[in-house]
Amino acid sequence: MPRQSQSHSRSSQRSQIESSARESVDERHHVANVVKTILNLSINKAIIKRSDITAIALKSDSRLFNRVIAEATEILRDVYGYELIDAENKNQKSMILCSLLETGSLLELNESYRKKYTLLFIVLGYIFMKGGAIAEGLLWEFLHTVGIEEQGEHSYFGDVKGRYESFIKQAYILRTKKSIEGMSEESTFVSWGLRAKHEVSKKNVLDAFCKIIKRKPTNFKSQYIEAYGMEGAEGGEAMVVE
């Protein structure tokens, strides 16, 4: 078979190098688009759909998504300290962007975040102390006892019902319906949502709640174990919050 001339094979080598360089520039471009889109869609901590990311960042090319998502995820973790968590949401592939870093001091939050988080802590704290899942009605009864009403404006928290609904949209709180024996309608239950499980420290919630009710965290054995792990839990008595 006749050999190709030297210059011909060199120029085809060059165009191969050029096209793979172009491909990696394109890929970097796609990765950057995916990162930017995920950040933009997550401004409100909403649950984001994979289909939205593909449509906005990748002109709906879903094979491209699989190629670039690993690198995009790594960048979000390495540069921003965020983790992309898979969420199951009505059969749609979705995810949420969670912070890997605990928000230690409230200084890092602006005033409106501070109010939101305080309310969130109270709600998540009560759910946690009551074993992890409670009927939604009981939650509002508890909030009423500490002066937080479902309707109307609260002097510090503002539109409580609105904030509560946004916590559900942001996956801090999970609301589910279950049929209960003896009840004709389904009952609504609330528990910690996916974002709370990743972002909120059970230790902080337990400590904060116990400070409010003036009891020791070690008094609540199952919560203490859940929050601190088994090694920390020897010697505590079990008690239940009334």
Partner: protein
């Protein structure tokens, strides 16, 4: 400087706040060092600038930046977290409805066109009248008030003595947009050539100058850099 959780935590704090004063930024950094770099000593004041510079190199590929701006109306320095392309308010976001975005743009427009770029709060609320269109109901005054507070928190506006001003974040993010669309109304400080909204006005000519630029200039000379007449306004 290696890139650590100190940088990531500071970046998240900046993007959560939108706008922070230089003092707040330092306080936040001290808190972050206590959590993530407890073995190191308390950071120096200029550590903030170093951390910001390191962060900016990493977020630049994603069209983001933490910008540093001296804000004349309050004579304070601010760090502002911005998207370098169009403002996130415009882009793909599901945060604000069409009438709300319309309201934001109307505020920008009226602030640009008004004398000294200030609007009394009442006038700001009255702008809701033009937000109804194409089947969308106009914004309620109550919702407008909520939005103004939200946007002020983020740094887009600042209300001083009941007058609404451009906030540090609006100045950084919309400088190009306003220069392009309102070129005839926007001026530059003739000493530093940067777009200027707020500053000191000459008594004899229409030139406005940044306070800091003017102070430096008046150390050596005593006349207005634009009209050359003797400078009479106290700085």
């Amino acid at each position: 400087m290696t890139y650590t959780d100190v940088h990531r935590a500071f970046l998240q704090a900046c993007s959560n706040h939108g706008t922070i004063s230089a003092q707040q930024a330092y306080d936040i950094l001290v808190g972050i060092y206590a959590r993530y770099a407890a073995s190191e000593s308390v950071p120096r004041e200029d550590a903030v600038a170093e951390v910001v510079a390191a962060i900016n190199t990493r977020i630049y590929p994603f069209d983001q930046k933490i910008a540093y701006i001296h804000y004349d109306p309050t004579d304070t320095d601010f760090y502002v977290f911005v998207s370098l392309l169009e403002s996130p308010i415009d882009l793909q976001q599901k945060e604000y409805t069409l009438p709300e975005l319309h309201y934001f743009r109307a505020l920008l427009r009226e602030l640009t066109l008004s004398d000294d770029h200030q609007l009394p709060s009442i006038a700001c609320l009255n702008l809701t009248n033009e937000t109804g269109s194409d089947g969308h109901k106009a914004l309620s005054k109550g919702r407008a008030e909520q939005l103004l507070t939200e946007w002020e928190d983020l740094g887009y506006f600042l209300v001083l003595e009941d007058k609404c001003h451009f906030g540090p974040k609006a100045i950084v993010e919309f400088e190009k947009y306003l220069n392009t669309n309102y070129a005839d109304v926007i001026t530059r400080c003739c000493l530093c050539n940067v777009t200027i909204f707020y500053g000191v006005r000459c008594a004899t000519c229409p030139q406005i100058l940044h306070k800091d630029c003017l102070k430096k200039y008046l150390r050596r000379l005593t006349n207005c850099p634009a009209c050359k007449k003797l400078w009479s306004v106290p700085v």
